[in-house]
Amino acid sequence: MDLLAQAARDHAPPDIDALIALVPYCAWLGLKARVADGRIVLEMPFDPKLVGNPILPAIHGGVIGSLLETAAIVQTVWDTRAQSLPKPVDISIDYLRSARAAPSFASATLARQGRRVVNVHATMWQDDAARPVAGLRGHFLLA
Protein backbone atom coordinates (compact mmCIF):
# COMPACT_ATOMS: atom_id res chain seq x y z
CA MET A 1 0.00 0.00 0.00
CA ASP A 2 1.22 3.51 -0.83
CA LEU A 3 0.84 4.67 2.76
CA LEU A 4 3.09 1.84 4.00
CA ALA A 5 5.64 2.26 1.19
CA GLN A 6 5.86 5.99 1.89
CA ALA A 7 6.39 5.37 5.61
CA ALA A 8 9.20 2.94 4.74
CA ARG A 9 10.85 5.53 2.44
CA ASP A 10 10.60 8.12 5.21
CA HIS A 11 11.98 5.62 7.77
CA ALA A 12 8.88 6.51 9.78
CA PRO A 13 6.46 4.22 11.57
CA PRO A 14 3.27 3.63 9.60
CA ASP A 15 0.21 5.69 10.56
CA ILE A 16 -2.00 2.80 11.66
CA ASP A 17 -5.13 4.92 12.16
CA ALA A 18 -4.78 6.26 8.60
CA LEU A 19 -4.21 2.71 7.36
CA ILE A 20 -7.38 1.49 9.10
CA ALA A 21 -9.33 4.35 7.54
CA LEU A 22 -8.20 3.21 4.08
CA VAL A 23 -9.57 -0.31 4.57
CA PRO A 24 -13.27 -0.16 3.66
CA TYR A 25 -14.42 -3.00 5.93
CA CYS A 26 -12.52 -1.56 8.91
CA ALA A 27 -14.07 1.85 8.28
CA TRP A 28 -17.49 0.18 8.02
CA LEU A 29 -16.91 -1.44 11.44
CA GLY A 30 -15.97 1.98 12.82
CA LEU A 31 -12.47 0.93 13.91
CA LYS A 32 -9.98 3.46 15.28
CA ALA A 33 -6.38 2.83 16.23
CA ARG A 34 -3.97 4.33 18.72
CA VAL A 35 -0.38 3.35 19.36
CA ALA A 36 1.43 3.51 22.70
CA ASP A 37 4.97 2.16 23.10
CA GLY A 38 4.72 0.13 19.90
CA ARG A 39 1.52 -1.55 21.00
CA ILE A 40 -1.54 -0.87 18.88
CA VAL A 41 -4.96 -0.77 20.50
CA LEU A 42 -7.98 -0.88 18.22
CA GLU A 43 -11.26 0.57 19.40
CA MET A 44 -14.64 -0.37 17.99
CA PRO A 45 -17.60 1.72 19.18
CA PHE A 46 -20.83 -0.20 19.68
CA ASP A 47 -23.29 0.03 16.81
CA PRO A 48 -26.65 -1.79 16.50
CA LYS A 49 -25.55 -3.25 13.16
CA LEU A 50 -22.88 -5.30 14.96
CA VAL A 51 -25.41 -7.32 16.95
CA GLY A 52 -25.58 -11.09 16.54
CA ASN A 53 -27.89 -11.89 19.45
CA PRO A 54 -30.65 -9.33 20.02
CA ILE A 55 -31.87 -10.92 23.26
CA LEU A 56 -28.75 -10.14 25.32
CA PRO A 57 -27.86 -8.07 23.12
CA ALA A 58 -24.43 -9.34 22.12
CA ILE A 59 -21.99 -8.45 19.37
CA HIS A 60 -21.82 -11.00 16.52
CA GLY A 61 -19.06 -13.60 16.71
CA GLY A 62 -18.02 -12.64 13.20
CA VAL A 63 -17.53 -9.02 14.27
CA ILE A 64 -15.40 -10.19 17.19
CA GLY A 65 -13.34 -12.28 14.76
CA SER A 66 -13.01 -9.30 12.43
CA LEU A 67 -11.76 -7.02 15.21
CA LEU A 68 -9.24 -9.62 16.43
CA GLU A 69 -8.00 -10.40 12.94
CA THR A 70 -7.55 -6.71 12.19
CA ALA A 71 -5.61 -6.24 15.44
CA ALA A 72 -3.33 -9.11 14.39
CA ILE A 73 -2.81 -7.65 10.91
CA VAL A 74 -1.99 -4.09 12.00
CA GLN A 75 0.39 -5.25 14.76
CA THR A 76 2.13 -7.42 12.15
CA VAL A 77 2.43 -4.42 9.83
CA TRP A 78 3.84 -2.36 12.69
CA ASP A 79 6.36 -4.95 13.88
CA THR A 80 7.55 -6.15 10.45
CA ARG A 81 7.22 -2.81 8.62
CA ALA A 82 5.49 -4.79 5.85
CA GLN A 83 4.56 -2.68 2.85
CA SER A 84 1.48 -4.67 1.99
CA LEU A 85 -1.16 -6.23 4.23
CA PRO A 86 -0.37 -9.71 5.60
CA LYS A 87 -2.73 -12.47 4.50
CA PRO A 88 -4.45 -14.76 7.01
CA VAL A 89 -3.48 -18.43 6.67
CA ASP A 90 -5.40 -19.88 9.59
CA ILE A 91 -7.01 -18.54 12.73
CA SER A 92 -8.51 -20.01 15.86
CA ILE A 93 -10.89 -17.87 17.89
CA ASP A 94 -11.87 -18.62 21.49
CA TYR A 95 -15.07 -16.96 22.65
CA LEU A 96 -14.76 -16.47 26.41
CA ARG A 97 -17.80 -14.35 27.27
CA SER A 98 -20.46 -12.45 25.35
CA ALA A 99 -19.57 -9.01 24.03
CA ARG A 100 -22.20 -6.55 25.22
CA ALA A 101 -23.47 -3.28 23.74
CA ALA A 102 -20.38 -1.31 24.72
CA PRO A 103 -17.10 -0.15 23.16
CA SER A 104 -14.68 -2.98 22.37
CA PHE A 105 -10.89 -2.97 22.26
CA ALA A 106 -8.29 -5.32 20.82
CA SER A 107 -4.53 -5.65 20.69
CA ALA A 108 -2.10 -8.28 19.48
CA THR A 109 1.44 -9.55 19.97
CA LEU A 110 3.63 -11.45 17.55
CA ALA A 111 4.53 -14.72 19.25
CA ARG A 112 6.91 -15.65 16.47
CA GLN A 113 8.14 -13.56 13.57
CA GLY A 114 9.52 -15.63 10.72
CA ARG A 115 10.72 -14.42 7.36
CA ARG A 116 7.51 -15.45 5.60
CA VAL A 117 5.01 -16.32 8.31
CA VAL A 118 4.13 -14.73 11.65
CA ASN A 119 2.29 -16.33 14.55
CA VAL A 120 0.09 -13.74 16.26
CA HIS A 121 -1.98 -13.77 19.44
CA ALA A 122 -4.75 -11.19 19.75
CA THR A 123 -7.12 -10.41 22.57
CA MET A 124 -10.35 -8.43 22.81
CA TRP A 125 -11.91 -6.83 25.87
CA GLN A 126 -14.59 -4.30 26.78
CA ASP A 127 -14.67 -2.37 30.06
CA ASP A 128 -12.04 -4.47 31.85
CA ALA A 129 -8.84 -5.51 30.05
CA ALA A 130 -8.33 -8.21 32.69
CA ARG A 131 -11.57 -9.91 31.57
CA PRO A 132 -11.04 -10.72 27.89
CA VAL A 133 -14.12 -11.32 25.74
CA ALA A 134 -12.30 -13.35 23.11
CA GLY A 135 -8.86 -14.39 21.93
CA LEU A 136 -7.34 -15.23 18.56
CA ARG A 137 -4.30 -17.21 17.59
CA GLY A 138 -3.36 -17.18 13.94
CA HIS A 139 -0.75 -17.43 11.23
CA PHE A 140 -0.34 -14.68 8.66
CA LEU A 141 1.68 -14.72 5.48
CA LEU A 142 3.94 -11.75 4.83
CA ALA A 143 3.51 -10.65 1.24
Partner: protein
Protein backbone atom coordinates in the same frame (compact mmCIF):
# COMPACT_ATOMS: atom_id res chain seq x y z
CA UNK B 1 -39.08 -20.86 2.32
CA UNK B 2 -40.49 -24.35 2.75
CA UNK B 3 -43.03 -25.37 5.36
CA UNK B 4 -40.44 -27.29 7.27
CA UNK B 5 -38.21 -24.23 7.46
CA UNK B 6 -41.15 -22.21 8.83
CA UNK B 7 -41.66 -24.95 11.37
CA UNK B 8 -38.03 -24.69 12.38
CA UNK B 9 -38.44 -20.95 12.84
CA UNK B 10 -41.51 -21.52 15.00
CA UNK B 11 -39.79 -24.09 17.18
CA UNK B 12 -36.43 -22.42 17.53
CA UNK B 13 -36.67 -19.02 19.04
CA UNK B 14 -33.23 -17.47 18.79
CA UNK B 15 -32.55 -14.93 16.13
CA UNK B 16 -29.61 -16.92 14.82
CA UNK B 17 -31.79 -18.37 12.07
CA UNK B 18 -30.70 -15.87 9.50
CA UNK B 19 -31.66 -12.38 10.38
CA UNK B 20 -29.05 -11.12 12.76
CA UNK B 21 -28.47 -7.40 12.47
CA UNK B 22 -24.83 -7.88 11.48
CA UNK B 23 -25.64 -10.46 8.81
CA UNK B 24 -28.28 -8.20 7.28
CA UNK B 25 -26.12 -5.10 7.49
CA UNK B 26 -23.39 -6.95 5.61
CA UNK B 27 -25.91 -7.59 2.84
CA UNK B 28 -25.95 -11.38 3.23
CA UNK B 29 -28.98 -13.63 3.01
CA UNK B 30 -29.91 -17.19 3.84
CA UNK B 31 -30.52 -19.11 0.62
CA UNK B 32 -31.13 -22.62 2.00
CA UNK B 33 -32.18 -23.90 5.37
CA UNK B 34 -32.85 -27.46 6.51
CA UNK B 35 -32.38 -29.28 9.82
CA UNK B 36 -28.64 -29.30 10.45
CA UNK B 37 -27.75 -27.47 7.26
CA UNK B 38 -27.68 -23.92 5.92
CA UNK B 39 -26.45 -22.02 2.93
CA UNK B 40 -25.84 -18.28 2.96
CA UNK B 41 -24.72 -15.91 0.23
CA UNK B 42 -23.03 -12.50 0.32
CA UNK B 43 -22.79 -10.43 -2.87
CA UNK B 44 -19.52 -8.56 -3.39
CA UNK B 45 -19.76 -4.94 -2.22
CA UNK B 46 -17.33 -2.08 -1.51
CA UNK B 47 -17.84 -2.14 2.28
CA UNK B 48 -16.54 -5.73 2.69
CA UNK B 49 -13.12 -5.03 1.13
CA UNK B 50 -10.13 -5.70 3.38
CA UNK B 51 -7.35 -4.81 0.97
CA UNK B 52 -7.97 -1.60 -0.98
CA UNK B 53 -5.07 -2.38 -3.37
CA UNK B 54 -6.48 -5.71 -4.54
CA UNK B 55 -10.18 -5.47 -3.66
CA UNK B 56 -9.93 -8.77 -1.76
CA UNK B 57 -12.60 -9.25 0.91
CA UNK B 58 -11.53 -8.92 4.58
CA UNK B 59 -10.98 -12.28 6.28
CA UNK B 60 -13.29 -11.17 9.07
CA UNK B 61 -16.21 -11.05 6.63
CA UNK B 62 -15.63 -14.72 5.80
CA UNK B 63 -15.30 -15.43 9.53
CA UNK B 64 -18.69 -13.79 10.07
CA UNK B 65 -20.37 -15.79 7.31
CA UNK B 66 -18.87 -19.05 8.57
CA UNK B 67 -19.97 -18.31 12.15
CA UNK B 68 -23.47 -17.44 10.97
CA UNK B 69 -23.87 -20.45 8.65
CA UNK B 70 -22.60 -22.87 11.30
CA UNK B 71 -24.85 -21.22 13.89
CA UNK B 72 -27.92 -21.62 11.68
CA UNK B 73 -27.05 -25.26 10.96
CA UNK B 74 -26.67 -25.94 14.69
CA UNK B 75 -29.85 -24.03 15.53
CA UNK B 76 -31.94 -25.93 13.01
CA UNK B 77 -30.44 -29.26 14.12
CA UNK B 78 -31.33 -28.50 17.75
CA UNK B 79 -34.82 -27.39 16.74
CA UNK B 80 -35.37 -30.59 14.79
CA UNK B 81 -34.17 -32.67 17.76
CA UNK B 82 -36.26 -30.77 20.32
CA UNK B 83 -39.35 -32.49 21.65
CA UNK B 84 -42.52 -30.58 22.58
CA UNK B 85 -42.37 -29.34 26.14
CA UNK B 86 -38.60 -29.16 26.26
CA UNK B 87 -37.18 -25.72 26.99
CA UNK B 88 -36.15 -23.55 24.07
CA UNK B 89 -32.44 -23.65 23.46
CA UNK B 90 -30.01 -21.02 22.36
CA UNK B 91 -26.41 -21.38 21.32
CA UNK B 92 -23.16 -19.55 21.98
CA UNK B 93 -20.01 -19.97 19.90
CA UNK B 94 -17.19 -21.49 21.96
CA UNK B 95 -14.55 -21.55 19.28
CA UNK B 96 -14.15 -21.14 15.58
CA UNK B 97 -11.14 -22.42 13.65
CA UNK B 98 -10.66 -21.35 10.04
CA UNK B 99 -8.25 -22.24 7.27
CA UNK B 100 -8.11 -19.58 4.56
CA UNK B 101 -7.27 -21.70 1.53
CA UNK B 102 -7.12 -18.87 -0.97
CA UNK B 103 -8.12 -15.25 -1.30
CA UNK B 104 -11.71 -14.56 -2.31
CA UNK B 105 -11.87 -13.32 -5.88
CA UNK B 106 -13.05 -9.67 -5.97
CA UNK B 107 -16.41 -9.14 -7.64
CA UNK B 108 -17.77 -12.64 -7.03
CA UNK B 109 -20.42 -13.66 -4.48
CA UNK B 110 -19.29 -15.67 -1.47
CA UNK B 111 -21.36 -18.72 -0.58
CA UNK B 112 -21.03 -20.49 2.75
CA UNK B 113 -22.50 -23.88 3.66
CA UNK B 114 -22.82 -24.78 7.34
CA UNK B 115 -23.38 -28.32 8.57
CA UNK B 116 -24.06 -29.63 12.03
CA UNK B 117 -21.98 -32.77 12.54
CA UNK B 118 -22.74 -33.79 16.15
CA UNK B 119 -25.17 -32.81 18.90
CA UNK B 120 -24.47 -33.64 22.53
CA UNK B 121 -26.34 -32.41 25.61
CA UNK B 122 -24.02 -29.46 26.17
CA UNK B 123 -21.93 -29.07 23.04
CA UNK B 124 -22.67 -29.06 19.31
CA UNK B 125 -20.06 -29.44 16.57
CA UNK B 126 -20.30 -27.92 13.10
CA UNK B 127 -18.31 -27.56 9.90
CA UNK B 128 -18.39 -24.68 7.45
CA UNK B 129 -17.18 -24.30 3.89
CA UNK B 130 -16.89 -21.06 1.90
CA UNK B 131 -16.62 -20.96 -1.88
CA UNK B 132 -17.39 -18.73 -4.83
CA UNK B 133 -18.40 -20.06 -8.26
CA UNK B 134 -17.11 -23.60 -7.79
CA UNK B 135 -18.41 -25.53 -4.78
CA UNK B 136 -15.51 -27.95 -5.19
CA UNK B 137 -12.90 -25.20 -4.85
CA UNK B 138 -13.40 -23.85 -1.30
CA UNK B 139 -11.79 -20.56 -0.29
CA UNK B 140 -12.09 -21.29 3.45
CA UNK B 141 -12.94 -24.20 5.76
CA UNK B 142 -14.16 -23.91 9.33
CA UNK B 143 -14.64 -26.10 12.37
CA UNK B 144 -16.90 -24.56 15.01
CA UNK B 145 -18.01 -25.62 18.47
CA UNK B 146 -21.11 -24.24 20.17
CA UNK B 147 -22.41 -24.47 23.70
CA UNK B 148 -26.13 -25.14 24.19
CA UNK B 149 -27.80 -22.57 26.43
CA UNK B 150 -31.30 -22.67 27.86
CA UNK B 151 -33.40 -19.71 26.80
CA UNK B 152 -36.24 -20.26 29.26
CA UNK B 153 -36.77 -22.61 32.16
CA UNK B 154 -39.02 -25.61 31.40
CA UNK B 155 -41.48 -24.48 34.06
CA UNK B 156 -42.08 -21.18 32.28
CA UNK B 157 -43.42 -22.95 29.20
CA UNK B 158 -46.82 -21.52 28.23
Amino acid sequence: MSGSAKDIHRRFSTASLGGTAFFEALGARVTEIAPGRSMVRLPYAPHIVGNPDTGVVHGGVITGLLDQACGIAVGTALAAARRDGEPLQGIATLDLRIDYLKAARPGADIVVVGECVKITRQIVFARGRAFQDDADAPIALAAATFMVTELQPAAAKG
